[in-house]
């Protein structure tokens, strides 16, 4: 088995392990911390998929910029909306 294929398989196993972790943790009575944990695990999965499966890490800077722009504007959307909603009294 060549090295690249081995890398893909390793990432797939990691993704399944993260899925198992998020599923298992959801049975614990964590309250709001459960949200933070499941979101953190989703972000870790996303990072693996984007960098390894979608090869963004090895892409040209221009492509990374295009991908990063989506994330950047999404962050603004989320941050400003939640900054309003979560701080209402």
């Amino acid at each position: 088995m060549d090295r690249r294929l081995k890398g893909l398989l390793t990432v797939w196993l990691l993704l399944l392990a993260l899925l198992g972790a998020t599923f298992g943790l959801s049975f614990l009575p964590w309250g709001a911390w459960g949200n933070a944990a499941s979101l953190g695990i989703a972000a870790a999965k996303a990072a693996l998929i984007v960098t390894v499966f979608m090869r963004l890490g090895a892409s040209q800077p221009l492509v990374r910029l295009a991908a990063g722009a989506g994330l950047f504007w999404l962050t603004i959307l989320m941050a400003l909306t939640l900054a309003d909603v979560l701080t209402r009294v």
Binding site: R4, L5, L8, L9, V11, W12, L15, L16, L19, T22, F23, S26, P29, W30, G31, A32, G34, N35, S38, L39, I41, A42, K45, A46, I49, V50, V52, F53, M54, A58, S59, Q60, P61, L62, V63, A66, A67, A69, G70, L71, W73, L74, L77, M78, T81, L82, V85, L86
Partner: protein, 184 residues
């Protein structure tokens, strides 16, 4: 696209690759707004999510595995590979996409039997909007992968379809905790 500053051989992007990433960025905005709406709907309700998180997890595993197969197909469609070597993983990934849709259909049926129908609960409504929109994307992806398995595609075409497929997987990675894993 050659001769860019700082880009050596093998690091240049095809115009198709850049265009696809730009398209995916617009998709991020669409699904991102939907995820934000789901987050707000969750803040406005109490109690755990009423949906079957076991089936949701099974579907996540199905999509993650399909993404692995697509990554293998992209690998095998390269210039160093023999013709047709990408076909099997492409067919496998498309089949897993169909399996995902089948599980989703079973789940919708069970949801309806439990009385979880579109109605006054905003969170339930958003569940249907988000999962149905995702299913539409997935159906397009299945058609793309199955179509590529029938012809002998260019490596860049397989790569573009692969990027789209991984993105559909990525959306589900976030929809799963947002819709199914709501602490009670």
């Amino acid at each position: 696209m050659t001769g860019r500053t700082g880009a050596g051989p093998g690091t240049t992007a095809s115009p198709g690759q850049l265009g696809l990433w730009l398209f995916l960025s617009t998709e991020v905005m669409m699904f991102g707004a939907l995820l934000l709406a789901i987050t707000l709907a969750r803040l406005g309700r109490s109690g755990a999510a009423p949906f079957d998180k076991g089936l949701g997890a099974a579907n996540t595993a199905i999509l993650l595995t399909s993404s692995l197969l697509v990554a293998v197909a992209v690998e095998r469609s390269g210039p160093c590979s023999g013709p047709g070597r990408a076909r099997l993983p492409l067919v496998g990934a498309a089949a897993l996409g169909v399996a995902f849709l089948a599980v989703k259909a079973v789940e919708y049926r069970a949801d309806f039997a439990k009385g979880l129908v579109p109605g006054p609960d905003l969170f339930v409504n958003l569940y249907y909007v988000a999962t149905a929109l995702h299913a539409v994307h997935l159906t397009i992806g299945v058609a793309l992968l199955a179509g590529l398995a029938l012809v002998r595609p260019q490596p860049s075409t397989v790569e573009a379809a692969g990027l789209y497929w991984h993105f559909v997987d990525l959306v589900w990675v976030f929809l799963y905790p947002a819709l199914y894993l709501v602490p009670g």
